[in-house]
Symmetry: C2
Subunit: 549 residues, 2 copies
């Protein structure tokens, strides 16, 4: 006789098997039964966020650092719809999440009851399920006891493999449906496999030929290399080949910036001098994990000829003019790397670039006076330490940080494609949780403008609540500066409240004498003031939550 | 030769013609050109909120007080999706809004460019338009110059008439399309008309017959009477007939609670004693604007026989067993009222109820000790003054406030059907703006739990920024109390951060000595402490922003 387990526990056990340790979200009356089951799965800990959008952002930030999909739980209607923009961002930038949505019970759905969180009499309770269609890879709406367990598995597997959001809709009564427990003995198979092994071998062979014969090969490691599990592989490829290597605005840090091969950040013609030339002039650009959006390509000024290009995508591979739809770079690049490693000399490797390593120009050497953008970003770069995780908010921070130089093994989170302001405050919580799970030895440093901060500020309270100690730079530049740059430099619509006292923020949210939670806040209006703070050892230690503004 | 005006100005002028004076929302690069045009229409003022969800809540609160649809502006993808839950709440509770969404320019859409706020290469830029389908009455996606102006008119008219959200999607280049300015000389016709005048007359006649012959007629005035412009008409009907009158949890205040006919709040068997009996035993229940959701009907325990019922809905009218789909109560009730008024004696009017007026029981007469729910709500009721606008947050506040007694002409905002926590903090901003436009002589009083507050707290900063002085009661009850009542009274998922110092909130957001913005905050843990504050004249004056916690 086979034993059973309820569907709620089944979901949590399957999620725990992925190696994740926390679940983000907000409780609501249609997900409480499911939440009750989480306490039966001790590998998982519930982490409630202040609201669902922030929860989705946190899940996204977590997924970027852990390289695994985050779990996000919301409730029917009010919760799932609040999270939409955060989930869409994860869809755009491949920060996978498994979004569990608690729904009305099946008998209540059948009766089409006018229960709270519905909208009108006779409404099909399933209509919100359709709303997330464009922002998810797949979903399951658990209505049928017989297929429930296999559906949960299918959706989780697709979530892991695609790195895109997937949804599981769970009516409250479904939590208690008994499913076959023995299924849990077979681990989920999340291995990436391409359709045809023969085609894969042909692709590998032609790329190896190109590598062998190239005169000025370069590696451009873009963000989908990181998201789709290819960061380490790309680094090893660069170590082995010694080809000149580049990052992009979204992938900054993918290659250590002190690596002898590292040539800088490629952003089309908006790159520092020499970078676009080196890439556009190369006879073999190995472009791993491309994401060719406007702000990741210098406004579409990338100019690499197909005849010189090998593009290794997550859903296509292109070798010069030939495109293979549906092929994933991971097994292909793995094979390529193994072949090269077996006998490097056969491929004339290592083959370091003959041209001189490009070093970024020092933009502003201020030692005093007003704090200018040209000073700020490079200076924050010099403040960073090995193993730090850095988040640059949409807006000036993310357009400025490419100018900085990162120390070894810096992990960088920015959302320059989806570009939702307020994102990093939520994402930072997720990054803090992921860093804790991974015992990351570095600090977590958040750089955010005061306008973006106003979008999602409450989650600073969650950092304090859960005992985290990030360093938070609030760039107080009087409104939506990036928008002023685009349109309406003097229009009042680009204003935000200038009345907030950021010096009181940590105190308000909980870091005070009587709570015993240590914090520091500094106000810096000049370079001198900022230098004092940046050189303050206590500040730099990251041992308590800190805000220089 | 006819003069022209650009489509941006056209939209703003049409909105201004409705009599609204403010536009809510958040700027983003795809709506900045449209925002530029607002300065050419001096009747309108832009009011930026901290984020889009709060903007939608503010629009909803504004619409409830003004009785006109609010205007909400968001940007492509990130903005419109963030607002979804707030718009859905307005759909559910008929707080109409005209949601303007700035989109990518038409040539960029045609090229399917991988621009920021899209999600993947080759994406149809219009896919987000489909996502809002279930939560809107209608929409227009302005792609065709020739039909643009008429489409704008159609959608605004439907928004006004339906009191439901409508969407206008505006590619950035469309702002500068020239449309015929002479159209603006013809005002929009937003009059509610029923399909067949004959049927309407038949309905009126049969209802008049029922009114004439009823022995124990009552009026149950529900929330859609308010939303669909029938509040004053219903009040006049009650004045004229002197029939016993009742409100519901969602419509509390629709009839003045000191009115001689007022019998109390009808919430099925969860009403105070005598109320359900009076209604269930009546031989004619005139139910204006019903919204029969679980929490508005005592969990579906309303028990009115069809043979005794006249239901006057916004999209159906039911006379005993006969239902007329698509008929709107407003023209019908107007006719009924006019007929009755012409010759009241013919209908044996006024006909006051012979039964004694029901008075709510005093639940808790504490003068000292811990603050209990049974004390809190009725006490806040006694604190209220004529013409106040009161907002009760989803959760304990909205389940408690029905116990209170309101002074004359109190306007009440709660969202017990859609039930999104955090709603009232945004809605309060909208109510403050609406009250200012209408020169409402009362105060605005917000009652919110600390868990809900954490969802949307930043908008408190907007009250301060724009010079408003609401009175804010923060009910600090250690987590999601309403959820504890439903499930998991001791589960940690119902916890929220208890570290926030609400005494520092107004200071953090801007009310400080150096800004010159006056505020007061009080912490009350006992009845004695709360009584001192409630009896403090300065506090009660509503002249500065105040928080007793």
């Amino acid at each position: 006789m086979s034993s059973t387990v309820n569907a709620g526990v089944y979901i949590w056990k399957r999620l725990a098997s992925l190696g994740i340790e926390h679940v983000f979200g907000v409780p609501g009356d249609f997900n409480l039964f499911l939440l009750d089951q989480i306490y039966k799965v001790p590998e998982l800990t519930w982490l409630g966020t202040c609201n669902e959008l922030n929860g989705a952002y946190a899940a996204d930030g977590y997924a970027r650092i852990r390289g695994k999909p985050a779990a996000l739980l919301t409730t029917y209607g009010v919760g799932e719809l609040s999270a939409m923009n955060g989930v869409a961002g994860a869809r755009a930038e491949h920060a996978g999440m498994i979004h569990l949505v608690g729904m009305t019970a099946r008998p209540v759905q059948k009766a089409k009851a006018l229960i709270h969180h519905t909208m009108y009499p006779g409404m099909d309770h399933g209509i919100y399920v359709g709303m997330s269609e464009p922002i998810r890879k797949t979903h399951t709406y658990l209505m049928d006891d017989a297929t429930m367990a296999s559906e949960i598995d299918r959706v989780i597997i697709e979530g892991v493999k695609s790195k895109l959001p997937v949804f599981i809709y769970i009516p409250t009564d479904v939590v208690f449906v008994q499913v076959d427990a023995s299924r849990l003995e077979a681990p989920l198979d999340t291995t990436i496999r391409n359709e045809s092994e023969d085609t894969e071998n042909d692709i590998v062979k032609s790329i190896l030929d190109l590598i062998k014969s190239a005169e000025s090969p370069v590696v451009v490691a873009d963000v989908l290399a990181i998201r789709h599990g290819g960061r380490d592989l790309t680094r090893e490829l660069v170590d082995l080949t010694q080809f000149r290597s580049f990052s992009t605005p979204l992938s900054k840090g993918v290659i250590d910036e002190d690596h002898p091969t590292y040539g800088g950040l490629y952003n089309g013609i908006a790159s520092f001098d020499g970078i676009a030339d080196a890439i556009h002039g190369s006879d073999l650009v190995l472009n791993v994990g491309p994401l060719l959006s406007d702000s990741n390509t210098g406004g579409f000024t990338r100019d690499i000829k197909n005849t010189n290009l090998v593009s290794l995508g997550h859903d296509f591979v292109q070798v010069r003019e030939q495109r293979f739809e549906g092929y994933h770079f991971f097994p292909i690049l793995t094979q390529i790397f193994e072949e090269l490693k077996k006998e490097p000399s056969k491929f004339n490797l290592p083959r370091p670039s003959k041209s001189q390593k490009l070093e970024p120009p020092r933009l502003n050497d201020s030692a005093s006076g007003p704090i200018e953008q040209s000073y700020t970003w490079q200076r924050i770069g010099r403040f960073l330490k090995q193993n730090d995780i850095v988040l640059a908010e949409s807006g000036t921070a993310q357009f400025g940080m490419p100018d900085a130089t990162f120390p070894k093994n810096t992990q960088y989170i920015t959302q320059i494609f989806w570009s939702s302001i307020g994102y990093t405050i939520g994402a930072c919580l997720g990054a803090l949780v992921a860093a804790k799970e991974m015992r990351n030895p570095g600090r977590v440093v958040l750089i955010v403008g005061e306008g973006s901060l106003q979008m999602t500020v409450q989650e600073i309270g969650s950092y304090i609540r859960f005992g985290f100690t990030p360093i938070i730079f609030v760039i107080n530049n009087n409104g939506y500066s990036i928008e002023r740059a685009i349109n309406g430099p003097k229009q009042d619509y680009n204003n935000v409240s200038m009345l907030w006292d950021h010096q009181k923020m940590l105190e308000f949210f909980g870091a005070r004498t009587e709570t015993g939670i240590k914090s520091s806040s500094y106000k810096c209006s000049t370079v001198e003031e900022l230098e004092v703070v940046l050189n303050n050892e206590d500040f730099a230690s990251g041992n308590s939550i800190q805000v220089p503004v």
